[in-house]
Amino acid sequence: MPSAGLKTIIALSFVLAVGFLLVILSCALWHSYFPLLVVATYVLAPLPNWICSHCSAGPDDFVESGSGASAVLDLGRFFTGFLVVMGIALPVVLAHSRIIEIGAMVMSIAGGLLIYGTIISFTMFFQEEQEF
């Protein structure tokens, strides 16, 4: 990754704010606060990956080729994938049953993807300082 400076932080926080704006607007415009679940989902999404990478012994077990350690990592990846698709599927389910409107669905999906993209790119930019 290239060196992440102040501009990256500003841009990322701007994108995060736009994402939250979209999700909250999708709730407030139609007075139905179910799309807030999308924010919770995307905030929880990197969590299984993080927990499982700390549960396994560290970066060394990757060389040992024992699949017991990487099974824990795979479990974390599985649940992260589950949560990411859940963030898209949940508004679609709600909109299909007309609990929320189609517009709210589109706005909450877009906002959720922006929030998750911010979290992912933030960890990608600032990983070096945490790991080493």
């Binding site: 060389v63 080729s65 699949s67 017991g68 990487s70 795979d74 990846r77 599985f78 649940f79 992260t80 994938g81 589950f82 949560l83 990411v84 698709v85 859940m86 599927a89 949940l90 679609v92 389910v93 709600l94 299909h96 049953s97 007309r98 609990i99």
Partner: protein
């Protein structure tokens, strides 16, 4: 190693990479999530909008529970124990046990898929349910198929991991 190959076409290079393996595991989680939410969509739709008496009940969830259980069993078994015969390093017939457990897992997965089709036929097709309500049965079949697909993707990417680790060990 290249003399042992059975097939004419070799595996493409990108299939050995750790990136493809991780992407496979993520995709498997996504497919499973899709399956769960498709069935949840059927249930919520049945509660909120459905004008008829045909509702999604616990019976509709049962096939998904069985397929998920089968998927859990299949992917919990250590794949390397399958090739190990009882007289080699793993004593007391671990390979045999692995095969039995794996058979139970596949039976549960296939039973879940068959159960999805059964519910679809018995509850929706035979009773001549109209189309928007028929969607609930179709969603059941699709959800069980997606669980099967997800478990296939997870299996393939875990086997890919073995190849990768082998290459790394050399």
């Amino acid at each position: 190693m290249s003399e042992d190959r059975l097939w004419k076409f070799r595996k493409p290079e990108w299939m050995h990479s750790a990136w493809a393996r991780n992407a496979g595991v993520y995709a498997s989680g996504g497919l499973f999530s899709l399956a769960f939410y498709i069935l949840l969509d059927a249930a919520v739709w049945s509660k909120r909008i459905n004008p008829t008496d045909t509702h999604v009940t616990f019976i509709d969830w049962l096939p998904l529970i069985f397929s998920s259980l089968g998927m859990l069993i299949i992917n919990s078994v250590e794949k390397q124990r399958l090739s190990a015969d009882s007289f080699s390093y793993s004593g007391s017939g671990v390979a045999w046990k692995a095969r039995v457990v794996l058979f139970l897992g596949f039976a549960s997965l296939a039973g879940g898929m068959a159960g999805g089709v059964t519910v679809f036929v018995m509850k929706y097709v035979v009773r001549d349910v109209e189309w928007p309500m028929m969607g609930m049965g179709v969603e059941n079949v699709v959800a069980n198929g997606l669980v099967g697909l997800s478990s296939v993707v997870l299996w393939i990417s875990q086997n890919m991991e073995d190849e990768y680790a082998y290459n790394l060990a050399l």
